[in-house]
């Protein structure tokens, strides 16, 4: 009995103390808009626009730019808590469509009349990205900076495309991504919506060709999926790569990879998710980086 009471007192004491790491950051104290932004691309753009003072909370997956780690996080975007978000007293929550959960928490937030807002433009192409930048810039009244970002994007892209012309080959690329919600490895196909579309376009801009015909993301259930495609290069996004301890052998052990050209020639590389998976302000330079990677 006494033990139980002391445990409780101890817990109460812990409660009063600081949290740990990123989770313990005090929230921004600002006047005006206070937004919780649950989307890596929105956050990247907001920081690029210099509008980050309004952001009081971000999700766990938003990791760029590095300074963002100083902002309070509300957790993983599919496992949110209403109270947690609302404790930051946001005036709005910004997120890309249908990206957040669990559903009952969304209901709760809506029930408390906090607007959950998405921007219409999608960063599934260069044009889409520019539209998105402009929309977000308008929201935060940073229209000029927005235009500047768009111009930079265009010029960097043009420069990168020039560099890409230097390469004569068009390697067939398979991109392997680890889906955290479903807890499985996925392989990205040509086209399709959302992230998959973005990846495809990025690879194509970088002078490569998507090895897998089937659009969208598929689970790597059978070795045939990769084996039939027989990619020349395999890119693995950072989380999935690190999860296997960065071991090339372990990656070769994923279904179908072993027998591919990529494995035989040792052309298996790690790539940052935020460079490849979606278009954003840095995509212009990213094209060149990805091109360099796949043409090695």
């Amino acid at each position: 009995m006494k033990a139980l009471l002391s445990i409780i007192l101890l817990l109460t004491a812990i409660v009063a103390g600081p949290g740990c790491g990123r989770f313990g950051n005090p929230s921004n104290d600002t006047t005006g808009d206070r937004v919780v932004v649950i989307s890596p691309i929105y956050n990247e753009i907001i920081w690029a626009l210099g509008a980050q003072d309004h952001v009081v909370g971000v999700d766990l997956s938003s990791t760029y730019p590095p300074e963002i780690k100083g902002v309070t996080t509300v957790g993983y975007h599919r496992a949110l808590s209403a109270e947690g978000i609302l404790s930051l007293h946001p005036t709005a929550i910004l997120t890309s469509e249908g990206n957040i959960g669990p559903p009952q928490v969304i209901e709760q937030i809506k029930g408390l009349n906090i607007p959950i807002q998405s921007f219409k433009a999608k960063n599934d192409s260069v044009d889409g990205t520019k539209a998105l930048i402009r929309e977000i810039a308008a929201f935060f009244h940073k229209e000029e900076k927005g235009e500047e970002l768009c111009r930079n994007l265009d010029s960097q892209l043009a420069a990168s495309l020039e560099k890409v012309k230097q390469y004569s080959d068009h390697p067939r690329v398979a991109v392997i991504h680890f889906g955290r919600a479903s807890n499985v490895y996925l392989v990205v196909g040509k086209g399709g919506g959302g992230d998959a579309g973005g990846v495809s376009k990025m690879i194509e801009l970088a002078g490569g060709e998507m090895a897998l015909e089937k659009s969208g993301m598929q689970r790597m259930e059978s070795p045939e999926i990769i084996a039939q495609a027989n990619p020349d290069v395999v890119l693995v996004t950072d989380y999935g790569f690190d999860r296997l301890g960065g071991s090339i052998d372990q990656i070769k052990a994923l279904p179908g990879v072993e027998t591919s050209n990529a494995a035989k020639n040792g052309r298996i590389y790690r790539v940052e998710e935020n460079q490849l998976n979606y278009f954003g302000p840095r995509s212009g330079e990213n094209v060149a980086k990805v091109a360099a990677l796949i043409h090695q």
């Binding site: 009995m1 139980l4 009471l5 445990i7 409780i8 817990l11 109460t12 812990i14 409660v15 949290g19 740990c20 989770f23 909370g57 766990l60 309070t72 996080t73 509300v74 957790g75 993983y76 599919r78 496992a79 949110l80 808590s81 209403a82 109270e83 947690g84 978000i85 609302l86 404790s87 930051l88 007293h89 249908g98 959960g101 669990p102 559903p103 009952q104 928490v105 969304i106 709760q108 029930g111 408390l112 906090i114 919600a181 479903s182 807890n183 689970r219």
Partner: protein, 343 residues
């Protein structure tokens, strides 16, 4: 066994602790409410007072139902553990380990993904019913497969192994359903396997409260018979117990209270294991005290776990299953090593 605290003293102590913990749970969280805040929030409900502010609404619509749901879910899991241990006559079983929770989770997931196709989806009882059906199937499977053919008693090894297998089966079935489902229709597998109280609302509180209170009341009626069962099925029969009927009733009550709770919170393991053990250490194995005591102790433990889940990384939340496993697994291993228990 000497120096046992009297039943009355212990009951009072448990209730007192429960009140303290509940008070802490209401006060602390991503937002800390002072007692003044709380009374203001409550008075805003009275006619003539101003509309509640956002923070007050958070208290009334999120914090309060969550705290109360936590008490009832904790009670369900505690009682579920006690009943399951009495039924299987083994102190190292609990609903999470022998498949009830995962079956219930599967039933619920099934309801979310495919229930729309069948037109019964909207009745208030549909979800809990689906969960119960899932829980019944999985528990019955384990119960049936783990029994020895000689004396009908399930050895601990068989129970744990069968439970492991059935758990794996149902969790992979949930994975399959996630695969079929259109996002955001399906809840992610993390929700089901690690549990969370974040979805609490007054509706779920009512449903779980009802099943917990009803189930516990029924179970209490059979506490004497469950005691008799502890010295064996044959002995219990000679003491006038209808053993088959007892087993079916207790199994049903057990599954219902755990399944209904699981439908709203996902799988929360180890509470049912730890709670009866703590009580037995304090006051021995008499089911008359154990069942009621487990309800209160389960409520306490889960509330503490939820408090930790909400505060450790605030304003983000840990899935509560992580907290209960972090405490529960060492306790489980410790129990396995103690040779006091007969295998």
């Amino acid at each position: 066994m000497a120096n046992r605290p009297s039943e009355r003293a212990l009951s009072l102590a448990l209730v007192a602790v429960a009140l303290i913990v509940t008070a802490a749970a209401i006060r602390y969280g991503a937002i800390d409410f002072s007692f003044a805040d709380i009374s203001a929030a409550l008075s805003s409900l009275l006619p003539g007072h101003a509309e509640p502010t956002i923070d007050q609404r958070i208290f009334l619509e999120l914090r309060l139902p969550r705290t109360i749901l936590c008490l009832f879910v904790g009670a369900s899991l505690g009682v579920g553990g006690t009943l399951m241990q009495a039924l299987f006559r083994n102190p190292i079983v609990e609903p999470g380990l022998v498949g009830t929770s995962s079956g219930a989770a599967f039933g619920s997931a099934f309801f979310f993904v495919l229930g729309g196709a069948f037109h019964f989806a909207d009745a208030i009882w549909s979800l809990p019913l689906a969960a119960c059906l899932g829980g019944v199937v999985s528990t019955y499977l384990v119960f049936l497969l783990a029994r020895s053919r000689e004396d009908g008693r399930a050895s601990i090894v068989m129970l744990l192994l069968t439970g492991l297998a059935v758990n794996a089966l149902f969790m992979s079935a949930i994975g399959f359903l996630s695969y079929l489902a259109r996002d955001p229709q399906a809840r992610s597998i993390t929700f089901w396997s690690l549990g969370t109280l974040s979805g609490a609302n007054w509706r779920s509180v009512c449903i779980v409260a009802f099943s917990t209170v009803a189930g516990t009341t029924v179970a209490l009626r059979y506490s004497k018979q469950l005691n008799a069962l502890m010295i064996g099925e044959e002995e219990a029969a000679y003491l006038g117990v209808n053993v088959n009927r007892l087993k079916w009733i207790i199994l049903s009550v057990n599954v219902v209270i755990v399944a209904v709770a699981t439908a709203f919170t996902g799988v929360i393991s180890f509470v049912g294991l730890i709670v009866p053990h703590i009580l037995r250490m304090m006051r021995g194995a008499d089911n008359r005290f154990l069942i009621a005591g487990s309800a209160v102790t389960g409520a306490i433990l889960l509330s503490v776990a939820d408090l930790v889940a909400r505060l450790a990384l605030r304003p983000a939340e840990l899935p509560i299953g992580i907290v209960t496993s972090a405490v529960g697994v060492p306790v489980f291993l410790y129990l396995l090593r103690r040779r006091q228990y007969v295998f």
